[in-house]
């Protein structure tokens, strides 16, 4: 089927039908922007991201400054109270959100890149490449990635970069599976055939023709990968193997546990921030999958609409 033998002309291969490889991507965005709740969630998430990114400007206090206000309840000076060292909980949460965002985005980026590369290669080349990559993906899906991250962070120290690499490198199998399925259905599509007939190289076909069209279902998983990264990092820090040099929401919650009955705000607010991040990301993820697959809300065939 590969048509490398056909003499490649100088002219570029014809673009996909009705000009736009990103047509599918755009139609998903249109479907998403019609849904109100996921859009609101997206705006709120961006606002939280801004709070994290601009933390030093919005909350100028030093997040590690110990004041005399040990375990001080909610007040004007400390809207979310102060912890057992007198540090302002709100300021620390802003810095914790920043950590969460960095981890979530990095984990999603690594998992997406590895998953896309493996899925595209497996789907396009088939044979042993597919066999090797997909069996690896199967194995990774069964192996408990979180516990692997736990043990490595425990033995090597849970610096953010270690945690991110581990979570990213164990989180890609789902992406690879979806990308592979997309490639299999796109490989024989007319616009791919025409690019091939025009003499486009394999790399060009995969990157320019197949990738843009395979992207939407993969992007729908991005927010879920972010939430996986954020929740896993929080859990690792909660278990005491997180990065000691970084303010982590999970670590704040864990350190505040013993004050749950005496100073509830110390563990409660950091946990609320994790909850909010994960919730918003899941709402966006649901909205994306709904935009991709509107049939999910449709009634079944032949069933009377009572």
């Amino acid at each position: 089927m590969r048509s490398a033998a056909i003499a490649p002309g100088r002219e570029a291969p014809p673009a996909a039908a009705d000009g736009g490889r990103f047509r599918r991507l755009r139609s998903v965005w249109r479907a998403l922007s019609r849904q109100r709740v996921p859009l609101v969630a997206l705006v709120l998430l961006l606002m939280l991201g801004a709070v994290g990114a601009l933390a030093p400007a919005i909350l100028p206090g030093d997040p590690n400054a110990m004041t005399g206000d040990t375990l001080r309840p909610i007040s004007a000076a400390h809207p979310f109270g102060a912890d057992y060292l007198g540090r302002d909980v709100l300021t620390r949460i802003a810095y914790g959100i920043k950590t969460s965002f960095i981890v979530g985005l990095a984990v999603a980026a690594i998992a997406m890149s590895v998953g896309l590369a493996c899925g595209l290669a497996a789907g396009y080349y088939g044979e042993w490449v597919e066999h090797l990559l997909m069996r690896t993906a199967d194995a990774l899906l069964i192996l408990p990635g979180f516990f692997l991250a736990l043990i490595v962070a425990f033995l090597f120290g849970g610096r953010v970069i270690t945690v991110v690499m581990l979570l990213g490198l164990t989180g890609w199998p789902q992406i690879a599976r979806i990308a592979r399925a997309e490639v299999l259905s796109l490989k024989t599509a007319e616009f791919v055939e025409s690019a091939r007939a025009a003499g486009a190289s394999n790399g060009r076909i995969v990157l320019k023709e197949i990738l843009p069209n395979a992207l939407p279902p993969v992007l729908a998983l991005m927010s879920l990968l972010m939430s996986y990264g954020i929740l896993s990092e929080a859990s690792l820090s909660f278990l005491g193997v997180g990065d000691p040099n970084v303010i982590s929401l999970g670590g704040m919650l864990s350190n505040g546990l013993q004050y749950a009955t005496t100073a509830w705000w110390v563990p409660t607010f950091p946990g609320a921030a994790i909850f909010l991040l994960v919730l918003l990301l899941n709402i966006i993820g649901d909205g994306l999958s709904m935009a991709l697959n509107p049939a999910l809300t449709r009634a079944s065939p032949g069933r009377s609409n009572r």
Partner: protein, 322 residues
């Protein structure tokens, strides 16, 4: 053909377990320092003594000799000894695992009953207010980190309302036996069990709704309706039965995550299960216990997945005759 499938899955699972054990072995050797430095690091021990210890423990032998010895030990059920109290790791984990299961099994069952019922209710009326309400509730409970919900339960139901105890599995110093003890443990169980059931049920609801809707779009249901079967039969005997298969598969994959949730819930409630053991071991740098825990969890998750898949091969003719 079934035998080939079963044999294939068995081999795959054994290879995976071997992979987990080898990963553990490789990690110990790549990690900075060796067991001797872990044990005596920072203590006034001469280099000569350290070398003697390394020799006594075989740490100066070729790597493959150490590897076969390690594999052999694990095959015999020897996971090493705790560096804190010198108990066998297998015994420490063996003692705490029943307490974890005491918490996990009832929560999974409770979550399955409620979650599947809600999922069916939502999938029966797609796009209605009831569907959205169930969707919203399950989304919120899905996003609630179990360790945070545990804190909230303690703050509200234990610290404020004093309905339930905050910590542990039994009242200290309460020597009452028999039924009184059972009642005491159940009373301590309510909050952690509630947290886990709440969190697990979200997965059941979401999976059930999605797979029931997926099945309802298939045309064999149209055939079933045209045969004149009642809506009840079409739904419960055909659609739901097939939908439950994908629910069970995905849950098999999520078992590791579910276990992680149980571990963290146990820590907050000071429940004397494996979570408590691993948390203390991490704090004390008791690395044989942490590694043993990793091996046990890894093997358990792989075997549970195998069990799910084999159960399927028996039930599902599509796999049996594939």
């Amino acid at each position: 053909m079934t035998y080939r499938y079963v044999a294939g899955r068995l081999v795959q699972s054994l290879v995976l377990i071997g992979l987990v054990v080898s990963t553990a072995f490789a990690l110990i050797h790549v990690a900075p320092g060796d067991p001797v430095t872990y044990l005596y690091g920072g203590q006034a021990v001469s280099g000569e003594v350290l070398a003697q210890l390394r020799h006594a423990w075989g740490l100066d032998r070729p790597l493959w000799v150490q590897y076969t010895a390690y594999m052999g030990n694990i095959l015999r059920g020897n996971l090493g000894y705790s560096q804190i109290n010198f108990q066998p790791v297998a015994a420490i984990l063996g003692e705490s695992l029943p307490n974890t299961l005491l918490l996990m099994i009832p929560s999974v069952l409770l979550a399955a009953v409620f979650g599947i019922a809600l999922g069916i209710a939502a999938a029966r009326r797609p796009g209605t207010g009831a569907d959205y309400a169930i969707g919203a509730v399950s989304l919120v409970s899905y996003a609630t980190p179990p360790f945070w919900l545990s804190v909230i339960f303690i703050v509200v139901f234990a610290s404020r309302l004093h309905w339930f105890p905050t910590q542990g599995m039994a009242t200290l110093g309460d020597a009452g036996g028999g039924l009184a003890r059972v009642a005491d443990i159940m009373w301590h169980m309510v909050l952690p069990l509630g947290v886990l059931a709440w969190w697990y049920s979200a997965s059941f609801t979401r999976l059930t709704r999605a797979s029931v809707l997926e099945e309802s779009r298939k045309y064999y249901l149209l055939t079933a309706r045209m045969k004149g079967l009642s809506e009840f039969q079409v739904f419960y005997r055909h659609a739901l039965r097939n939908a439950m298969r994908s629910v069970v598969t995905v849950l098999g994959v999520q078992l590791g995550t579910m276990f992680a949730g149980a571990v963290m819930t146990e820590i907050v409630f000071a429940w004397p299960g494996t979570g408590r053991v691993i948390y203390t071991a991490i704090l004390q740098h008791d690395y044989p216990v942490v590694l043993g825990f990793f091996l046990i969890v890894g093997a358990a998750v792989i075997l549970a997945n195998l069990a799910v898949d084999l159960a399927y091969a028996v039930i599902d003719p599509r796999i049996r005759f594939a």
